[in-house]
Symmetry: C2
Subunit: 384 residues, 2 copies
């Protein structure tokens, strides 16, 4: 899932995302809550309609961003008070209010409000944090069950444009979660009140396999249509990430989406897919692109380097994206060095294309019965 923090994958128009084959985007509740505001987006029919995105959207709960504001937050059983990074104003997120915000945004998949445990952390601290996330998961689910019919695209009074909600969700596991009105929705007709979002639970437990197992089992007891692994990629060594993913994913059901939050490099997403992960999100392809770091089939390229100043070859000779089909490394290097806006747009389009091609190859490999492992091996042999 490419990240579209405040309703835009930075620098890339929605039609280009569609051309790239993006099926689902991630939006950040924290950022959208602050600007333009969840009430404002709800009034405009929800996030799909606001940003004119006809395919699926997932919103995070805001928990990760809030917990990143280390000096600006205060935690209690009830929730967390934090200060806006924009203007210092004070706000409060609880399982209830974070879920309420996500219902107002109206994404297809929303996340339970969790505490993302810091790394490193003492054993007792990790246990208590994991238990808090479990209590918050119950509260998130309870609030959701009571309010799930309040999604903006259920409120027919706000429906004025033909684009008004999620109509192209394509995750095959999620098909089983579709409401009886899914067919109506696909046909673009008015939704019945039974149509709503999918709320996913989040497994925590730090870098402790036993706590991860306990968190997974107890989150399953609460019961969600999909499960995420949170609290990884927070500074721990990569082999630890891998160990914890392996130790956690085996406790999650095979017939429901398993979502690893906040990863990773192209090599890592292949590896995690091989471990059984179905969904991932990461700012890496888009953020790296804006800093001139480009992923190619021949390895990473820092496009600002002088060695590319007279290089007429495409960025990646094996890539068929619209950037590699048309522009030279010399031109991309010039745009970056001259601080042209187009550098950010073109670099982002290529990196997203590379990531989506990688995931297409993973799916193809799985459909051939080889698993992602096969691709991972081919990959490591192909690299210089």
């Amino acid at each position: 899932m490419p990240v579209g923090t405040v309703g835009s994958v930075k620098g890339v128009p929605q039609d280009v995302l569609e051309e790239l084959g993006v099926e689902i985007l991630l939006g950040n509740t924290y950022h959208l809550y602050l600007r333009p505001g969840v009430g404002e987006i709800r009034q405009l029919g929800g996030l799909h309609r606001f940003m004119s995105w006809r395919r699926a959207i997932l919103t995070d709960s805001g928990g990760f961003q809030v917990f990143s504001l280390t000096d600006l937050r205060k935690l209690s059983e009830d929730g967390v008070t934090f200060r806006s990074h924009l203007d210092g104003s004070s706000h409060f997120f609880s399982p209830e209010s974070a879920t309420q915000a996500q219902i107002a945004l109206g994404a297809d998949i929303i996340m339970a409000f969790d505490e993302c445990t810091e790394y490193p952390a003492e054993g007792q601290r990790v246990r208590e944090s994991m238990q808090l996330t479990l209590r918050w998961a119950e509260r998130s689910k309870r609030y959701f069950e009571e309010h799930k019919n309040e999604v903006p695209w259920n409120d027919t009074s706000t429906l004025q444009l033909p684009i008004a909600g999620p109509i192209e969700i394509q995750n095959s596991k999620l098909e089983t979660q579709k409401s009886p009105t899914a067919e109506l929705r696909s046909a673009g007709q008015t939704r019945a009140s039974a149509s709503t979002q999918a709320l996913f639970g989040i497994v925590q437990g730090g870098m402790d396999s036993a706590l991860r197992k306990e968190s997974a089992e107890r989150t399953l007891e609460i019961g969600f249509p999909g499960y995420a692994i949170g609290g990884l990629s927070v500074g721990e060594p990569r082999h630890v990430t891998r160990e914890i993913v392996e130790a956690t994913v085996e406790h999650l059901p095979l017939d429901q989406p398993r979502y690893l939050m906040g990863v990773g490099t192209p090599e890592e997403i292949v590896e995690y897919a091989n471990l059984g992960i179905d969904m991932m999100d990461c700012v890496l392809p888009t953020r790296a692109a804006r800093h001139g770091l480009l992923f190619t089939s021949e390895g990473r390229i820092s496009i600002k380097q002088a060695q590319y100043a007279a290089d007429e070859s495409p960025l990646d000779p094996n890539c068929r994206c619209k950037v590699c089909s048309r522009y030279s490394r010399a031109y991309l290097r010039h745009l970056y060095v001259a601080n042209e806006i187009l550098a950010q747009t073109l670099n982002t389009i290529h990196n997203l294309s590379f990531y989506l091609d990688t995931m297409r190859a993973v799916r193809h490999s799985i459909s051939l019965g080889r698993g992602a492992r096969f691709l991972s091996e081919v990959w490591s042999q192909a690299k210089p």
Copy 2:
């Protein structure tokens, strides 16, 4: 002509420019000379190939930019010494070196090196400046005649890609200027050495109609395939611009392109077309877009205003561009306020679309035998 200062119309990929119907772009010699360098672009096959732009390009002579560096330049009969706005390094432009630079860039149309007279200026100063421009025009032409076969797309040794020079020039007046090899060029075949650029002369003379007449007549005596009116839109009142355009254009031949440099608003370009101007360039549509100022059939819109925060209507209900077809004012306002890169891209696409639609309407009106005046009147009636 949209302005693509350093080899990019800021924020808009080349395929989108093509979709918009852009037939010719302006590149700034001064900026390209400084970065990435004209030698570098020549080595890469010229500006068309460097930026992967298959349609026409015009480069200015660098004179206007250099004369804008008021505190950083020193003028002599020979040329002008100036300091780079990027790093303060010292450089020298003369009629010969500016023409040499433009031959190296390889645009379809290049401009004689002129002195853009400041406004206001005393009568004697304007006369002397006009006379200097005439001497420089002769030197520009002499240098061009001696070196015009040195265009990068004439050097077959550098031809490696199918894209290698101007192949879609469409100005009907310029057709008559085409070399005997034009057919070969259109077919994408190797150019014969007779294929080259068109060097336009520039009329100066400040805000003095008599000096403008003298400048036009003496520039015609030197002889160019097209003529520009320079030194306007430099701070004078708009009615003065109009008077001087009228007083100048009547001395320029009807069967050769007449190019008014550096204008204008949508209303102005209709008005100047009605006076007989064939070509114009201006940063206004692109620069204004990046500052959130948008041109619409219902007047100007400053998209950052709070009144658009909940406005679900398209930017311009009469515009069929990809921005107006898909996004609401509320979304565009959000992107601008949140400082998202996409704001600059989408705003620029709309403003360019509006300008190009305006020029298409002008051409249509002319083809119906009504002239641009008709459109101008319809326009002023339609505005709120």
